[in-house]
C-alpha cells in the first residue's frame, strides 16, 4: 500500500487520483448491487416457490427436478383453497384483528393521555408499575389467562379471543404518553381557559394531532393480530371461529392435502396484508422503527 502510494505520483498522469477514486467507487457500487441482488433473490425464493406451487397439480408439486413454471396452470387450486379457508375464516381474522386494533388503540391513547396530561395522585408510581408489566413474558400468563376465560364461560367466543389480547396495551400506552408529552402545554392551557374538559381535550385536538403515530401503531397492531396463532388455537373450539393461521396450520398438517391447494391457501391468507403493505409500506416501516424506541 505504502510503496504503491509512493510510486503513484511519478507514474500516473496528474488526474489519476480522481479517476482511481471513481473506479473504486464504481467497483464498490457494483459489489453492493451484486450482494443486494443475490440477497434479495434468496430472500424471495420462498414467495416465488409458494406462488409457483400454488398453480401446480400434485404430480408437478412432487416432481423432481423441481420446475418453476407450472404446466398446466391449475387456477382451480384457488377455488379449492377458498372452500377450505373460506369467507368465514377471513371474516373471523378480520374481525379479530380490527377489534384488537380499535379497542387496544382507544384504550392505549386514553391511558397515554391520562399519564401525560392529567395530574392525578401517584401518577408516576402507577405508570412505572404499569410499564413494568411489559417485562412479564406472555408464557407466564398464558395458562392462568385461559383459566380466567374458562371461568367467564368465554371459551370459543369472540370476546375470549379478543379481550385478553386487548389487555396487552402497556406498550401502546407508553408510546402515546411519550407523544402527548411533547405536545405544547400552551395548547392545553388555552383549552382549559375555554372550559374544555379532559375528554374534550383528548377527543378534539389530542387525537387528531396524533394521527401519524396512531396510523403507524394501528398498522403494526393489525399485522401482529392477523398473524396470531397460539392464543386463538387455545380459545377457539369450533370451525365457525377459526382464524387464518389455524386454518393454514391444519391444511399444512394434513398429509393427504394437495400441495397446490395448500400453497394457494397460504397465498390467499397473505393477500390482504400484501395489499395493505403495497398501499402503506411507509407506515409498516414507521411502526416497526417506532417500536425500537422502547428499548
Amino acid at each position: 500500500m505504502t510503496s504503491r502510494g509512493a510510486a503513484a505520483p511519478t507514474l500516473a498522469p496528474p488526474d489519476s487520483r480522481p479517476r482511481r477514486e471513481r473506479n473504486r467507487r464504481l467497483i464498490s457500487t457494483t459489489l453492493i448491487l451484486f450482494a443486494l441482488t443475490v440477497g434479495a433473490a434468496i430472500n424471495l425464493v420462498p414467495f416465488a416457490w409458494m406462488l409457483s406451487t400454488s398453480f401446480k397439480n400434485n404430480a408437478q408439486a412432487f416432481s423432481y427436478p423441481p420446475t418453476w413454471i407450472p404446466e398446466p396452470f391449475v387456477w382451480n387450486n384457488y377455488v379449492d383453497a377458498f372452500q377450505r379457508v373460506n369467507g368465514r375464516v377471513f371474516f373471523n381474522t378480520a374481525f379479530f384483528s380490527i377489534s384488537i386494533v380499535v379497542l387496544q388503540g382507544l384504550f392505549a391513547t386514553m391511558g397515554g393521555f391520562a399519564f401525560a396530561r392529567i395530574n392525578f395522585p401517584y401518577r408516576n408510581v402507577i405508570f412505572l408499575i404499569y410499564l413494568g408489566t411489559m417485562m412479564i413474558p406472555p408464557q407466564v400468563t398464558l395458562i392462568p389467562t385461559y383459566i380466567v376465560v374458562v371461568e367467564f364461560g368465554w371459551v370459543n367466543t369472540y370476546q375470549g379471543m379478543i379481550l385478553p389480547i386487548v389487555a396487552q396495551a402497556a406498550f401502546g400506552t407508553f408510546l402515546f404518553r411519550q407523544f402527548f408529552l411533547r405536545l405544547p402545554d400552551e395548547m392545553y392551557e388555552a383549552a382549559r381557559l375555554d372550559g374544555a374538559n379532559y375528554w374534550q381535550q383528548f377527543w378534539k385536538f389530542t387525537l387528531p394531532l396524533a394521527r401519524p403515530v396512531i396510523t403507524a401503531y394501528s398498522i403494526i397492531t393489525f399485522l401482529t393480530a392477523w398473524k396470531m396463532y397460539l392464543w386463538p388455537l387455545i380459545v377457539v373450539r369450533s370451525p365457525e371461529l377459526k382464524v387464518l393461521p389455524m386454518a393454514i396450520a391444519e391444511l399444512s398438517g394434513n398429509a393427504s392435502q394437495d400441495r397446490g391447494v395448500m400453497m394457494a391457501a397460504v397465498a390467499l391468507s397473505i393477500l390482504p396484508i400484501l395489499i395493505l403493505y403495497i398501499a402503506a409500506q411507509r407506515w409498516f416501516v414507521e411502526g416497526i422503527a417506532m417500536s425500537g424506541q422502547k428499548g
Binding site: T133, V140, L142, P164, A169, I234, I248, G253, A289, G292
Partner: protein, 315 residues
C-alpha cells in the same frame, strides 16, 4: 411530524418517567376521577388478564389441576418432577440453542443488509423487496418452508445437489432439524431487524463519516470504527426482542414444521408447556414450567442489562 416518530432519540423509559411539571391544574380528587375514566378500561383488563394471572399462575404451579376436576395441592411436586425428568434438560438445552442460534445471525446479517441498503440507490425498490416477508405469519412461512426442506422434492436439497452436495433430510434429521428451524426463523425476522437497524443508522451523525472520508478511511474502516460501535444500542435492542420473540413465537414454527420432533430434537419449552397444558391438561405442571422459564428469562435479561455496559455505546 414524520421525523418525530423515528427521529426521536432512543430514550430509556425510566429516564422519561419524571412527567411534566408538578403544578396542580385541577383539584386532586377531580383529576383522580378523570384519570379513572381514562385508565378504567386498561385497569380492568390489566387486573383480569395480567395482574391476576401472574399471581394465579404461581399458585397453580403448586397444584395438580386438569380444569375438569378440582385442583389438588401437591406442594413442590411439579417443580421436583421437572428437575427429575430427563426430558427437562433437553428442553432447556434446545430452548437455549434455538434462542442463541437465532439471535446471533439476527444481530449481524440484518445490520450488513441495512448498511448495504443505505449505500445503494433505488432505496424504495430494495426496501420493498427486503421487507416483503413482513406480510407472512410464522404459520404461513413454516408451511412453505416445510416443503422447501422436503427431502426428495424440496428446493433446498435441489440446490445442494446442484452444488454437488449430499441432500439432507432436514426436518427428520437429528442433526439438522434444529438448524433448519433456526434458518427459517432468521429469515422470518429479517425484515423487522433490517428496519430497526435502518432506523438506528439514521441516528449516527453524518459528520462522523464525512470526517472519516476526509481522513481517507476506507469503507470497511468506516464500518468498523464508526457504524459498528455506534449502532450497538440497536444491536442490543435487536438481541433482546429477538430472544424474547423467539422464546414465545417459536411455538408457531415448531408446531407447524416439526411438532417438536424428531425425538424431541426441536422440542422447546413453550411448545412443551402448550402440550402439557392444552393437550395433556397438566395445568399445574405446565404452570411450574412457565414460571421456571420466566425466572430464567428474567435472570438472562438482567444479565444482558449488566453486560451491555461493556459493549453498548450510548452517545
Amino acid at each position: 411530524m414524520q421525523g418525530s416518530i423515528t427521529g426521536a432519540p432512543q430514550a430509556l423509559p425510566m429516564a422519561e418517567v419524571r412527567g411534566k411539571s408538578g403544578r396542580k391544574e385541577t383539584k386532586d380528587w377531580r383529576a383522580g376521577l378523570w384519570a379513572l375514566v381514562f385508565l378504567g378500561p386498561n385497569l380492568v383488563l390489566f387486573l383480569l388478564f395480567t395482574a391476576y394471572p401472574v399471581v394465579y399462575g404461581l399458585y397453580l404451579s403448586f397444584f395438580d389441576y386438569s380444569v375438569l376436576t378440582p385442583a389438588v395441592y401437591v406442594g413442590l411436586d411439579n417443580y421436583r418432577t421437572f428437575f427429575q425428568d430427563p426430558l427437562s434438560a433437553k428442553l432447556v438445552g434446545n430452548t437455549l440453542t434455538f434462542a442463541i442460534g437465532a439471535v446471533i445471525p439476527s444481530m449481524i446479517l440484518p445490520l450488513l443488509i441495512a448498511v448495504l441498503l443505505n449505500n445503494a440507490g433505488w432505496t424504495r425498490l430494495w426496501r420493498g423487496l427486503y421487507f416483503l416477508p413482513l406480510v407472512t405469519s410464522g404459520v404461513a412461512a413454516a408451511a412453505v418452508w416445510k416443503w422447501l426442506y422436503a427431502k426428495d422434492f424440496g428446493l433446498v436439497n435441489y440446490g445442494l445437489r446442484q452444488l454437488g452436495l449430499e441432500p439432507i433430510d432436514w426436518l427428520f434429521s437429528l442433526d439438522w432439524a434444529m438448524p433448519a428451524v433456526i434458518i427459517m426463523t432468521v429469515w422470518l425476522l429479517l425484515p423487522f431487524n433490517i428496519i430497526l437497524y435502518t432506523a438506528g443508522l439514521q441516528e449516527i451523525p453524518r459528520d462522523y463519516y464525512e470526517a472519516a472520508q476526509i481522513d481517507g478511511a476506507s469503507q470497511w474502516r468506516q464500518f468498523r470504527d464508526i457504524t459498528a460501535p455506534l449502532i450497538t444500542p440497536t444491536t442490543f435492542f435487536v438481541m433482546l426482542t429477538t430472544m424474547l420473540g423467539v422464546l414465545f413465537g417459536g411455538f408457531d414454527t415448531i408446531n407447524v414444521m416439526t411438532q417438536g420432533g424428531p425425538l424431541n430434537e426441536t422440542n422447546i419449552l413453550i411448545y412443551d408447556i402448550y402440550q402439557n397444558a392444552f393437550q395433556y391438561f397438566r395445568m399445574g405442571y405446565a404452570s411450574a414450567q412457565a414460571y421456571l422459564l420466566f425466572v430464567v428469562v428474567f435472570l438472562f435479561t438482567i444479565l444482558n442489562w449488566v453486560l451491555q455496559k461493556r459493549w453498548v455505546h450510548y452517545s
